[in-house]
Symmetry: C2
Subunit: 208 residues, 2 copies
Amino acid sequence: MAVEPSIITEQTATAGKPLRADARRNRDRLVEVAAEVFAERGIDASLEEIARRAGVGIGTLYRHFPTREHLVEVVYRREAEGLCAAAGELAAKYPSDVALEEWMRRFVDYIATKRGLATSLRILLTTNSTLFSDTSGRVSQALRHLVEAAVADDTIRGDVDASDVLHALGGIYSAPDTPEWRDRSRRLVKLLMDGLRFGAGTSMKADR
Amino acid sequence: MAVEPSIITEQTATAGKPLRADARRNRDRLVEVAAEVFAERGIDASLEEIARRAGVGIGTLYRHFPTREHLVEVVYRREAEGLCAAAGELAAKYPSDVALEEWMRRFVDYIATKRGLATSLRILLTTNSTLFSDTSGRVSQALRHLVEAAVADDTIRGDVDASDVLHALGGIYSAPDTPEWRDRSRRLVKLLMDGLRFGAGTSMKADR
DNA sequence: CACTAAAGCGGAGGCGCCTCCGTTTATTAC
DNA sequence: GTAATAAACGGAGGCGCCTCCGCTTTAGTG
């Protein structure tokens, strides 16, 4: 799931000091490639391969990301930010129910990444416990906007809120790591979406 | 903190099938050496060094212990078993309060190991969750015997039980990984022991 | 531009991980 | 004892990790 290089994404991540142009370029490229490689080879992918594919030396990778976990964290954050940003973009471009549906589809991909990263993330979370609450808060806020907009213009039923939807999506966390996982999750999203659309447009919002 | 090779220790650990004599010898030697090396170099010690010191090939190590965690688990169990066994031996050899004091001293060493192993153990515990409750149950049972015996023959005060003592020892878990940790823990044991002896021996058998 | 200091680059090298398989050794059967 | 067989051994080899440091590039200064 490639996330377009956004103007703010990388900037915010490294608040420190302005990097030299070449350093900056390499860093960005490394993160981008790392996201790809982690996605296709799993979290234990070779860091040397990442450096190779990014066209930099292994030393450069290690200067920017002293440990594997540093790199994982940055990739994870970027993934989460991309997802949040997508919410706004989708909302602007599509009818609100379609936006919600598409966003949930991407959410599935995001979770897929996160599950792959699970072991490494667990190590991270013992060190950097804000990471999780941080990002998951922002993600669920993005979902809330989408749901509220769709409810407001009556393209989905009115008796649900974001946390209902999040719980309904909960199943995709727990399912085992089978190859069909992604397809099954996609079906779940579709099913959920049908349920959400049912009873919309009647303009009568039943209470729950 | 070497634990004497006990007759039962290794047998119980591997219930499976009888190993060939040489295999058995190598396995035991590996565990013994691993305990040493982990103690002196920390949990990330080189497995190749362990094999080297044990005088076997690296292949042999991996045949017996397919992953680092397998080896860590066996060492940890052995450590715990040694501690439990020590309770009985000390009780037989010394007055009950002295036995308790000496045992607690060894407990400090045991915890020191456990703390060093923390990261690796965390990985283990996600896979093998019985390990912890298993061993910690047996350890606290050993403590219970010692405390009860000491209370029974009036060498320590009667208004405490094993879980009180365990809680009193709790501080040694949380303290940070400083170099003075061990000394401080020893002082804690001494302090605790003085507290336990206070008010004991008020019946006819006055001194210890 | 030219020059320089500082920042960044990259890959060789040393070490550890783990697998694979030809060789050795213990055990069993005679 | 000897032979046959299964079990175990061990280390070479391939790969990844990470550090270190000589070389290159950039950004700043005149």
